[in-house]
């Protein structure tokens, strides 16, 4: 993922101990009351005195040169206070940085927030207006005159890879090919990763299956559109309230795009109305700041749903090939995959992440993975929950199912025979540490679900998934107030209300004080050091590591105060159950001192009590899951109904078990939507035809069944409580599990996504 491994990272080893708070559901989440009463403040809920409303002019073409932009009529409209175009933004050189699971190139980021030489997709911004009302801003957009030279466009990934395809970037030559190609290409990068010799592996196989798969782009579908309020103040400072998964990463991007010093920018993350990977990159923020600078007013910008679909990151549409060979007793001997992933208008899809997940659930000696990152006239893709993995798992887990069928081996047994375990060599480098994949398969095999009988036109499918847990920069501060209550300030955005609760549980566990005595507060960019964005399932895993470190820091300080009060050596003080207690020879000499006792006396004994963590967290425990899905196929319409669903996943340690289950539910249902309905549809001019929730149909409550869950706990040895990231794995298996269930019900094997009624009907008619 381009993030440099560090020898200076922090991992706190797992310790088995009796737990009071961790692993037990708290009765009240810190964010819940605000959310159920409508008082929680999301970005679009913020307003500043004197604020203007900003709107963006977007390209109506998929691909066109910008010949001229005339903003004079818009500027002359009463109520319009500022208009900006590319001329208001500096051009930037190529410079790559991490932004969640995907990398960003600042040369491209600045062109994505405001088009420069040409527009590259339907919805590409090319001007923005700030006015005294939304209505005036919208009217002003219509007065901006743009002259375009429309160019041929390309939408499909395979078409974009052809030598005669319309080229998006004349200066893009395929990387990873030697010698450097002479002609520019939409293939930005070719990657290859291998283990052993896959061709030799196939020679040992009794059965080899090779299949091609296609998936369409799907959107993260957060219900909250992107929004921000920006205020540029005298002295060159900017303050921004925004909808983000990572305020520090946003600050870095804003600083680059506007050539500002980091310290002059304050980004405050509002309550986040869903991100799923799609809110790691700036879209509106630089425009709002420049509009604010020009107009000398705060500027509020809120996207419409149409803008969210047309111009923010969906996941890649893909074309893949999977080839796997196995012996007749069910041992996989060789495997190959080719991944062709759309990156949208600029290079940099989730390919590199997807490529390392391809076969990383199985112990296979001979592997070859080839990938292409392909630009095409679509919005730049963004991360979407386990970015890139569901699409290649669709292929791999479908072929695994077909192999098991051909070999007449139970699909779970086939996977158990080949399952990755501690010590398995991956094809991308490291050997796996202790993981719980086999445990999820065993739990699936023993589950009640597997015993449920199936009726006519019903089928059962199995599929599995793997995703990383990343660590990265994580800072936190724990302040102990004079009365012994604690406030924990964290900087890894709580994307959905779960990690905040977990931080409270962890601090309570470490300090030995009740949950009610702890208040958790999300920082802005000035109140803590840099935190990486909430991506790669790191929120709870890395954030809780910082909570442990900060708590232990504060405990050490409290023990120091007790030692001073008692006039003993610090080794003679132990921390137990929320109190400093005499330990060793002095036991019985002094009464234990509570957090409140110590806090009251802290000033005299050296000053306020606080604990800090400024870490680069390493040792994230990878997560594995197995899903079982039962479907019923309507033979008349081709409609697929999901009847029964089980998620079995290794959480390492579920700190807040009900919330872990809720994450499993959510990921599974997003996966059902992706599998059966969701897709970007373009017309012949490259214009998106379904940029709204009516035509981009996400699952509603009546579309889905209850999701049964089994939490497996194989502790991560590099986390003090054994935690693994859990958020992303659940979206990986559903596509393949549903395809396998449809096969079980009907005999058809679908390789084209989404598995919508017309496709199911057509495949059944061809059977």
């Amino acid at each position: 993922m381009g993030l440099k491994p560090t020898p200076y990272g922090t991992a706190i080893p797992f310790e088995e101990k009796e737990l009071k708070f961790v692993g037990k559901n708290p009765t009240e989440r810190p964010d819940a009351i605000e959310k159920v009463t409508g008082r929680a403040r999301y970005a679009a809920d913020y307003s500043l005195p004197g604020q203007l409303f900003g709107k963006v002019l977007r390209s109506p073409h998929a691909h066109a040169n910008i010949l001229s932009i005339d903003t004079s009529a818009a500027e002359a409209l009463p109520g319009v206070k500022a208009v900006v175009t590319m001329d208001d933004f500096p051009d930037l050189e190529v410079e790559i940085a991490a932004a969640g699971e995907l990398m960003v190139n600042f040369r491209d980021v600045t062109r994505n927030v405001m088009a420069r030489e040409k527009v590259l997709y339907d919805g590409h911004p090319l001007a923005a207006v700030a006015a005294t009302s939304n209505a005036i801003a919208k009217r002003a957009l219509k007065l901006i005159k743009v002259e375009y030279e429309v160019l041929p466009h390309v939408i499909d990934v395979v078409e974009a890879m052809q030598p005669d395809a319309p080229i998006l970037h004349e200066d893009q030559f395929t990387k990873g090919v030697d010698p450097k190609p002479e002609k520019p290409s939409n293939i930005a990068t070719r990657i290859e990763s291998k283990l052993g010799n896959s061709e030799e592996g196939f020679k040992k196989a009794d059965v080899i299956i090779e299949r091609h798969f296609n998936t369409k782009a799907a959107h993260q579908g957060y219900i909250e559109p992107h929004a921000c309020v920006a205020n540029y103040t005298e002295g060159g400072y900017a303050e921004v309230w925004t909808s983000t998964q990572g305020h520090f990463v946003f600050r870095s991007q804003i600083a680059k795009i506007l050539k500002m010093d980091l310290a002059k920018i304050t980004v405050t993350p509002a309550e986040l109305g869903g991100g799923f990977g799609g809110k790691n990159t700036v879209y509106l923020e630089p425009l709002a700041i420049v509009l604010s600078k020009k107009s000398r007013h705060p500027v509020k910008m809120v996207m419409t749903r149409d803008e969210v679909f047309r111009a923010t990151g969906p996941t890649s549409g893909t074309n893949t090939k999977v080839k796997i060979g196995a012996t007749k007793d069910g041992k996989i001997t060789g495997a190959q995959a080719e991944l062709n992933y759309q990156s949208g208008a600029f290079a940099g899809s989730s390919l590199s992440m997807a490529a390392v997940t391809v076969f990383t659930r199985y112990d296979i000696e001979n592997i070859l993975v080839i990938g292409h990152d392909v630009t095409c006239n679509r919005p730049k893709v963004a991360a979407y929950r386990a970015p890139g993995a569901p699409m290649i798992a669709f292929g791999v887990e479908s072929v695994i199912d077909e192999l098991a069928e051909k070999l007449e081996i139970d699909p779970i047994e086939f996977r158990l025979t080949n399952a990755a375990k501690e010590g398995t060599q991956t094809h991308f480098g490291p050997k796996l540490g202790p993981i719980g994949f086999v445990e999820t398969l065993e739990a699936a095999k023993a589950s009640e679900h597997m015993k449920m009988p199936l009726g006519p036109n019903q089928g059962r499918g199995i599929a599995t998934g793997f995703w990383f847990t990343i660590g990265n920069e994580t800072s936190s501060t724990l302040n102990i107030a004079e009365d012994g209550t604690a406030s924990f300030v964290y900087g890894t955005v709580d994307v959905a209300g779960g990690s905040r609760a977990v931080f409270t549980q962890i601090v309570a566990e470490e300090l030995g004080i009740p949950l009610e005595s702890i208040r958790v507060v999300q920082s802005n960019t000035t109140s803590l050091g840099f935190n990486f964005t909430t991506a790669g399932s790191r929120g709870t895993a890395a954030g809780s590591m910082a909570a442990v470190k900060a708590s232990r820091d504060a405990v050490a300080r409290m023990c120091d105060i007790a030692a001073k009060i008692w006039d003993v050596d610090i080794d003679e003080v132990a921390w137990e159950d929320g109190h400093a207690r005499p330990a060793g020879a002095n036991v019985g000499d002094f009464d234990p001192l509570s957090v409140a006792d110590l806090a009251k006396k802290a000033a005299y004994y050296g000053g306020t009590i606080a604990g800090h963590a400024e870490l680069n967290v390493v040792g994230g425990g990878p997560g594995f899951g197995t899903h079982i899905i039962d479907v019923e196929v309507d033979k008349g319409t081709g409609a697929v109904k999901v009847l029964r669903y089980s998620v079995i996943q290794d959480a390492g340690k579920a700190v807040f078990p009900d919330y872990v289950k809720a994450q499993f539910h959510g990921g599974a249902v997003q996966g059902i939507g992706m599998a059966l309905n969701e897709e970007y549809i373009y017309d012949e001019n490259g214009i998106m035809e379904n940029p709204g929730f009516l035509d981009y149909r996400m699952p509603v409550a009546s579309d889905v069944p209850n999701i049964d869950t089994i939490i497996v706990e194989v502790p991560n040895p590099n986390h003090p409580y054994g935690v693994r990231g859990i958020g992303e794995v659940p979206i990986i298996p559903p596509l393949a599990a549903i395809a396998n269930a449809i096969h079980d019900a009907t005999g058809i094997r679908l390789q084209d996504h989404p598995m919508s009624p017309p496709k199911v009907l057509k495949a059944m008619s061809e059977l």
């Binding site: 959310k35 986040l272 749903r305 779960g498 809720a662 959510g666 699952p699 509603v700």
Partner: protein, 158 residues
């Protein structure tokens, strides 16, 4: 263009506001009256995040114009709790972990209250179909459905 002067009742209080002809009830609630608990997810009536009750009828406030609400009674999420006392639906949403990011939660609560007013003893299927106009992307709906069923039982005194 002169604005319209409208008088309504919102959460039991008489409220006056000025609005342009083109402003929706959602715009009025959020931008003019600063009642930001009602959310905008799509502005086309497809997501239910802006659900409010208008004279007892569940509507998407993005599909109603501000000028249409004169003399009517509007109930929003801000009026759901009775002081410090949460509505049973609100309490059950918290207990059942029926919310994650929370952006759809106000609309779902208002829709669920309307559902239970019409059908105090719904089946699971009736709850799922009754809330099918409200999109949630985080929860997969299961905990929401359970929270509504549990609240319904409590409200019936069962």
């Amino acid at each position: 263009m002169s604005k319209h002067h409208i008088t309504t009742t919102i959460n039991g209080d008489e409220v006056d506001f000025l609005c342009e002809t083109s402003q929706t009830l959602l715009d009025v609630l959020r931008d003019e009256l600063h009642l930001t608990g009602t959310k905008e997810g799509c502005a086309t009536g497809d997501c239910g995040a802006c659900s409010v009750s208008l004279d007892g009828v569940l509507v998407c406030s993005c599909l109603v114009l501000g000028v249409e609400t004169g003399g009517k009674k509007i109930e929003t999420i801000e009026g759901m709790a009775d002081g410090d006392e949460l509505h049973p639906l609100q309490r059950k949403f918290v207990e059942h972990v029926a919310l994650q990011c929370g952006i759809c939660t106000p609309g779902l609560l208002v829709a669920a209250r309307s559902l239970l007013a019409k059908n105090p003893d719904p089946t699971e299927e009736e709850v799922r179909f009754g809330l099918a106009g409200n999109l949630c992307r985080c929860t997969g709906y299961q905990n929401i459905v359970n929270a509504v069923l549990d609240a319904a039982a409590e409200m019936r005194g069962a």
